[in-house]
């Protein structure tokens, strides 16, 4: 006690301890000075050690995590699930029948285009469609859109014995979940969603099949008419406005398809970058900014082209 009081060093009980403490503190002070110098000269190096320490700890955590994953898999035993890479093939050939899809066509990754299929320029095949050209050919023209979950198939044998390729013309709109089986659809027609067109159906130019219709085999739907119901019957004639609307809707859809195509083609870096941008953008408030007198632009990656946001109404 006396010695510490003599020395004036708090925390030391014996002289020896005091001595040690003095040494340590001297070193610290010296080291501190040196460290400060080091800090000024080589700041990065000092941060490097800390950064590296954190990196190593992170690495240990990840190693532990992976080991825990393996432990969990062993515990799950027989029923555990091992994920596989997606084997879904967007474009698949059946031996020598190869699908040919134009450069500017949009094909959703979850669609399946199989066999002898030709898809023309600026056409779009949306999510979940199946175009099976395995026994005969399917030909899709320019500017056509085959919307989500549709099925286009060809028949090998049907009741009348004819084998028909499926021909879909230009600027056709085929609605969601339609089923087209061995039929010929001419240009600028509209197949409503959920419609089923059976073998040998010919849909002439500017005709329309209403939603949910079932068009029986070998029916010929004349130009400019609307057919609907199950079995499909003539409903009414199309007005000129509606005919113009059909071609406009095909154009609108091909514009929309470009936006989807761009988004689906992004790689991981692009996706992650956009996520960060979106988070940042979500915090911005236009009213607040205008009150402050600040003008901020939305980043170009987050803006959709104008022709999608306000399509030309007919």
């Amino acid at each position: 006690m006396q010695s510490s009081q003599k020395q004036g060093i708090p925390g030391a009980r014996t002289r020896a301890e005091a001595g040690i403490l003095i040494k340590e503190r001297k070193e610290n002070r010296q080291g501190g000075v040196e460290k400060k110098k080091k800090k000024k000269k080589k700041k990065r190096k000092k941060m490097g050690t800390l950064g590296r320490a954190i990196y190593t700890v992170g690495f240990w955590v990840r190693e532990t995590g992976q080991a825990l994953d393996r432990l969990g898999s062993r515990l799950q035993g027989h029923y555990r699930f091992q994920e596989q890479l997606s084997r879904h093939r967007t474009l698949m050939n059946v031996f020598d029948k190869v699908p040919m899809v134009d450069r500017e066509a949009f094909v959703a990754p979850s669609a399946s285009i199989i066999g002898d299929v030709h898809v023309g320029r600026s056409s779009s095949i949306w999510y979940g469609c199946v175009l099976r050209g395995d026994v005969n050919s399917i030909s899709i023209g320019i500017g056509t859109n085959i919307q989500d979950n549709s099925l286009v198939h060809v028949a090998k044998s049907n009741l009348s014995g004819k084998v028909l390729p499926t021909l879909i013309g230009d600027n056709v709109t085929v609605g969601h979940s339609a089923v087209l089986h061995g039929c010929t659809v001419e240009d600028e027609t509209f197949v409503g969603m959920g419609a089923t067109l059976l073998d040998g159906v010919v849909l002439e130019k500017h005709a329309m099949v209403a939603a949910g219709a079932l068009v029986r085999q070998n029916t010929r739907i004349p130009s400019g008419e609307v057919w609907g119901g199950n079995p499909a019957k003539f409903l009414r004639k199309l007005t000129d406005d509606e005919i113009a609307f059909i071609s406009q809707s095909a154009i609108n859809y091909s514009n929309l398809a470009q936006a989807h195509a761009a988004e689906n083609a992004k790689d991981l870096d692009g996706v992650e970058f956009e996520k960060v941008l979106r988070k940042k953008f979500a915090k911005q408030d236009e009213e607040y900014d205008s009150m402050l007198g600040v003008v901020r632009d939305t980043p170009p990656e987050l803006t959709l082209p104008d022709d999608i946001k306000s399509p030309k109404a007919v």
């Binding site: 134009d102 999510y127 969601h176 969603m193 609108n252 979106r278 109404a313």
Partner: protein, 252 residues
């Protein structure tokens, strides 16, 4: 043979069409119009035939990103694009496509959109109301249904393979039978059972049946929980890739 025909058609003027040899004598030659030339397709070298990543579940478009609640079950085949919000307890089953690219789609609390449905929203609705597709709470949308810009009020059942067109409104406590097609702008009144193509009134629902509707939604919610627990938060495909690489001797 076909290319020769194409070239000859292009070179020769229209009025001077030479019938193809072999068809001049057939009875069908005069009746059938010449088949249109196949579209000229310029293929892209970049087109991938197979992408190991498969189809992404959430596809943001511009500023809109789909949002899924924490305890909602969304099957891995589903595609959510654009402005889609899936609220708590909801479930979206295999193969469904919810495309909110033109307008908003929301799946309410404890609702379920079953297998292979397509939910879309048009640019504008014929009724003039906002053309978003709004599925409110406790709604069961049966398999293979197609919903386009419709509003489904709380506690309804939409039968399988039904088609709801733009602007239709299904009021609360009503049931649509399987295969029904609701024309654009149609309103299904509260507490009734409708069926058919186009949908027609069948009968009103008894009070007991009305009580069953949310129970069905809750039952499917329970089922979705067992599906939800099958999936880990993050994919473990990288383990399989590692195995494949080591088995094939690939070092990247």
């Amino acid at each position: 043979m076909a290319t020769l025909a194409r070239i000859s058609r292009r070179i020769l003027p229209r009025t001077f069409s030479i019938p193809l040899p072999g068809r001049a004598f057939s009875a069908e030659a005069a009746a059938l119009p010449p088949p249109p030339p196949p579209p000229i397709i310029k293929e892209s070298a970049d087109r991938v035939k197979w992408d190991y990543r498969g189809q992404r579940k959430l596809i943001p478009l511009g500023q809109w990103a789909p949002k899924i609640a924490v305890d909602a079950y969304v099957a891995p085949n589903v595609v959510l694009a654009g402005q889609v919000v899936v609220y708590d307890g909801a479930s979206v089953w295999n193969g469904a496509v919810l495309r909110g690219d033109l307008n908003k789609i929301s799946v309410g609390f404890c609702s379920n959109v079953q297998e292979r449905c397509v939910v879309h929203a048009a640019w504008s609705s014929p009724t003039g109301l906002p053309a978003e597709t709004l599925i409110e709470r406790f709604v069961t949308v049966g398999a293979y249904s197609l919903l386009r810009s419709c509003t489904i009020e709380p506690e309804c059942i939409i039968g399988q393979h039904s088609i709801l067109m733009e602007g239709s409104l299904v009021e609360t406590h009503s049931i649509l039978e399987a295969g029904s097609v609701v024309p654009p702008g149609r309103r299904i009144p509260s507490g009734e059972l409708w069926a058919g193509n186009p949908a027609k009134f069948v009968r009103t629902l008894t009070h007991e049946e009305t009580l069953e509707i949310p129970k069905l939604a809750v039952a499917i919610n329970d089922l979705s929980k067992s599906y939800y627990s099958e999936f880990l938060p993050y994919s473990t495909v990288y383990l399989e890739v590692e195995k494949m690489k080591s088995s094939l001797g690939i070092s990247i």
